[in-house]
């Protein structure tokens, strides 16, 4: 068997792929943004003093962590129109599903980091006269962010890879573009390797960004 990678650069093929890549980036960023918001809400819900909030958060976590993303994606894309008669746009359903799924994981990252901060920090804040909320925002969370960075980088990368599943509900993104080109040219491995490379580079840029941010947030007390 022979490889002919020139097919990638033939005509507008590369542009076609890069367009897919740019949409993958947009959907992943949007999904991750949503994931962070949901993750924060669920994390604080889980440690809330208010029992119904704790139950709700646990229910959310148990559902979105214990069912496959692909199933959630189909449920959202096909389910909403059937049950509620809502006309769903594929990419929108896709981003929501990515964010909700990943949010379950993010919530545990946020909660773990917040709860790992010494309770003496909360006591010091409260003893100065800060409210619980102020202490969280000004003292606890800024320290917790450093501890979230490594696992959140993982989560972002994981979400970016999972975004390829959006191709199954007709969303235009990198993997779908590759499949279209494969169907056109029958050059299966060439295009699969090309998109692998694109995912690889994109995700390692995210990885490097994570390490850069960790360096910036260091307070000197960390194990080296």
């Amino acid at each position: 068997m022979t490889f002919d990678f020139s097919v990638i650069f033939l005509g507008r093929n590369l542009n076609f792929l890069l367009h897919g890549l740019s949409l993958t980036i947009v959907y992943s960023c949007a999904g991750f943004f949503l994931s962070l918001i949901i993750g924060t809400i669920i994390a604080f819900g889980q440690i809330s003093r208010f029992a119904p909030l704790r139950w709700l958060s646990l229910f959310y976590l148990s559902w979105f962590r214990a069912t496959p993303l692909l199933v959630q994606l189909f449920l959202l894309y096909y389910g909403l129109p059937i049950v509620f008669g809502i006309d769903t746009v594929a990419w929108f359903s896709g981003v929501i599903a990515l964010g909700m799924y990943s949010g379950a994981y993010s919530s545990q990252i946020v909660r773990g980091a917040v709860q790992s901060i010494d309770r003496g920090q909360m006591e010091a804040g409260r003893s100065l006269g800060y409210s619980y909320m102020q202490t969280m925002v000004k003292i606890i969370v800024p320290q917790a962010i450093l501890r979230m960075l490594a696992p959140l980088t993982n989560e972002f990368i994981s979400l970016t890879k999972n975004s390829s599943l959006l191709s199954t509900i007709t969303v235009v993104e990198l993997f779908r573009q590759a499949n279209i080109l494969i169907a056109d040219t029958y050059r299966t491995l060439e295009f699969l390797l090309a998109v692998s490379m694109m995912y690889y580079i994109l995700n390692n840029v995210i990885g490097a960004l994570g390490i850069y941010l960790e360096k910036r947030f260091r307070t000197g007390g960390e194990l080296q």
């Binding site: 010494d118 003496g120 920090q121 006591e123 010091a124 409260r126 003893s127 100065l128 006269g129 800060y130 409210s131 619980y132 102020q134 000004k138 003292i139 800024p142 320290q143 450093l146 947030f217 307070t219 000197g220 007390g221």
Partner: protein, 253 residues
């Protein structure tokens, strides 16, 4: 000035503070001593309601903190009021609890800026004067991790003083320090006492207690078994448990 009356506190089944009555006059230094597990730290932490006692009342210049009597029953006060009252009570912890992500100066200035609406410039002036007072002017721009234990504790004292509290609480402030650093922290506390700061201190430094305290309070199994001037407590205590405790501590020293 501080009046503690009939305070009771339990951790589950364990009744740790039993009918505590105590008064601390303005400008007075009260040192609380007693065997480990007697409730010293818990009592101190009740004064700013970090420890939520179930019954009784604590007032600062007549204003209740933490709980308030309503319809003859003691009930927790609204959080907002509690936060405001806490501004008047400075606290120094055994573990320092400095904010590691803030510089030394920011550790001191952030609360006055956030809670008292002080301008950054004003707060910096205040912060620098407090750093000078605790002898750490040259450290204002560093992060806490680079400080020694004694330096951390002095910054923590400056941080608490920045809110211009009416009383300062010290919860075993030298217990986690290397012996050669204990002196520098006690020196700062001594100076504070001489300036007339009202202070409540839990400590195992008996020589310091004897020298600085106006009143020594002896706690045993959640009860105040006796209180009085240091000369009396250290030379002729009334209670056999006090004698026993002092013998043990002084022997160890």
């Amino acid at each position: 000035m501080i009046k503690i009356s009939k305070v009771n506190k339990s951790f589950g089944q364990h009744h740790v503070l039993k009918d505590i009555d105590l008064e601390i006059g303005r400008g007075k230094v009260v040192v609380i001593i007693g065997p480990s597990g007697s409730g010293k730290s818990t009592l101190l932490r009740c004064i700013n309601y970090l420890e939520e006692y179930e019954d009784g009342e604590i007032t600062i210049e007549g204003d209740p903190i933490g709980r308030r009597a309503a319809n003859g029953k003691s009930a927790p006060m609204p959080q907002q009021e509690l936060n405001r009252m806490r501004q008047e009570v400075g606290m120094v912890f055994q573990a320092f609890n400095l904010f590691p992500h803030k510089t030394v100066l920011q550790n001191i200035t952030m609360a006055p800026i956030d809670l008292k609406g002080m301008s950054r410039a004003e707060a910096d002036v205040l912060g620098r004067s407090l750093l000078k007072k605790v002898g750490l002017s040259e450290k204002e721009q560093v992060l806490p991790y680079s400080l020694s234990g004694g330096q951390k504790q002095r910054v923590a004292i400056a941080r608490a003083l920045a809110m211009q509290p009416k009383i300062m609480l010290f919860d075993e402030p030298t217990s986690s320090l290397d012996p050669e650093m204990v002196g520098e922290v006690l020196q700062v506390m001594r100076a504070l006492a001489e300036e007339g700061m009202t202070m409540a201190i839990v400590t195992h430094e008996m020589r310091f207690a004897r020298e600085v305290a106006d009143t020594i309070v002896v706690l045993d199994a959640g009860r105040i078994i006796e209180q009085g001037p240091p000369e009396k407590i250290f030379t002729q205590p009334d209670h056999p448990r006090t004698l026993e405790f002092l013998a043990k501590v002084l022997q160890a020293n």
